[in-house]
Amino acid sequence: MSALLNIANLSVCFPLAFGLMDIFSPRRERHLRVLEDVSLDLGQGETLGLVGESGSGKTTLARAVLGLVPRSAGDIAFDGEMIVGRSEGAFRTMRRKAAMMFQDPVASLSPRLKVGTLLVEPFIIHGEPVASRRETAERLLALVGLPAAFAERYPHELSGGQARRVGVARALALNPRMVLADEPTAGLDVSVQGDILNLMTRLKGEFGLSYIVVTHDLALVRHVSDRLAIMYLGRLVELGPTADVFRAPRHPYTRALLDAEPIPDPRRRREDLAIEGEIPSILNRPSGCEFHTRCRFARESCRNEAPDFTQDASGSAVRCHYPLE
């Protein structure tokens, strides 16, 4: 499987406001290190699930790949071409081939434009000629299973599931090779969630797409992704084939996430608590292994030494001194 996207040692940090008082506390963190040294590949036709709690950096990673947030270090190569520089222009060519489905489908559509206009917007932005705006809009609507009449509607007239479909149609407008879907089913009812995921799966086959699905919903990624990448405090902590990760998670954090999922079966209620505490502030990263403050298996060395992200022959990787068997 040749890689469509290569991410190497990608970091994103934002400078913090620096005030006079900071002179007296020289040890204060001056940067918000949102993403730390992330290396990841996405194969042709692959679906990669990017999972973590809020604040884990998963959305930032997806946005950084498209240059929507500036990277501070690291390399991104798309379809074999290295993206040089951080400017908008450097990413423009790539964004034609790599589209984003934003988290809030209604908020990501301009409320003043009709769906038909919204669907031809990508062509205008990228200077692609459009023979007939109406036909283009209708073709895209048909693609996602919406009637042509929807071109005349405004975003607020759409239900959550319909707005999501318009988001899918917009992402596919320019025939991309890769789609980054940020929480594609957040806020949807379970009966509609399946619809959107089935649609994404069908389109993947039809257009030979590769997906990065950013989500906190483990049950969902289990059914759509080939590989999983688990993030904690802006770092990858585990990477591996989805089935393997679910069957035998190796990082204690992954295990805790799986254990925390409520089970829709009253006969299998969990009596113990999978994980205590909350995700620490990235302004105050724990020493050593950054998960040690919440890890039930933490030992002395975990507090002092940061573990590496060690990859085995099969491509699975884990950032832990004492991975689970």
């Binding site: 239900s159 959550g160 379970v190 906190h216 409520p262 995700i279």
Partner: protein, 322 residues
Amino acid sequence: MTDPLLSVQGLSVNFRTPHGFVHALRNVDMQASAGEVIGIVGESGCGKSTLASAIANLLPGNAGIAAGRIRFRDNDVLRLDADAQRRLRGREIAMVFQDPMTAFSPVLTIGQQLIEFQHQMTGIGKAEKRQRAEAMLVRVGISDARLRLDGFPHEMSGGMRQRVAIAAALLMNPSLLIADEPTTALDVTLEAQIIHLLRALRRDYNGAIVIVSHQLGVIAELCDRVYVMYAGEVVELAPIDDIFHRPRHPYTQALLDCDPARLNQRGAVLPTIAGEIPDLTALPDGCVFAPRCSFADDRCRVPQVLTYVSDAHAARCHRVQP
């Protein structure tokens, strides 16, 4: 069985909108006894939040009660005057909302608000109220409770705010706690913690708890009895185990089938429920679920009644035989 603490009888609620009346609740019956945890589950638009708001008498201004009554202890909730309603909410019925941020004023400290919430508690001083607030924060698992009392809501994380919201709800020792999507805004690890907390609380709480959620997992983890709602009606009610292992209504069955958390094997296609929820301004004559039901036939054209298959298990479908 003793009289239920809460009893909703034949409740119908309409919303006035520019497009006509939305029949948000139709002929809903529901009971909750002390010591019970009741789950109300359904998808958006099914009326579960409207039901919760009606019980707490917090329906928005454009809502009208078309029929039915709500009895809480010896009170006819819907007939109480505004003052009596407020007293009932302050002392007996407490609510926890989905978004813990909006439950608090951003300009007052947590302590000020938790003291203010006890204003109906006459006979004790401010210092004692502060102590009670602190004790309650400890009970819901807030570390540094004393320090937190002097902090503001924005200084806390979402999970912590939800804990404080639960503490605030329990301060007056209400006999009915209504939690509307209490974990929806939280990450899965925090959700597990809040579920854990609610379970621990119920051990030494002898009131009733009503959990409103669209998430089957949350309902399964917490509740004793469940009401499944669809398009403003209760379509099935049953003890928790029956809902998940012997569902009788086709909608309940379909809803369970859709939950990806119940599928162990990765399949090519995820199950869905075809069609959309009906327009609540113009309802079909017969069964509201029939247009989406894979078992629908001619007998579905007439209104369906709840048929009991056991003492506590009923479904609104003609296919169900007693």
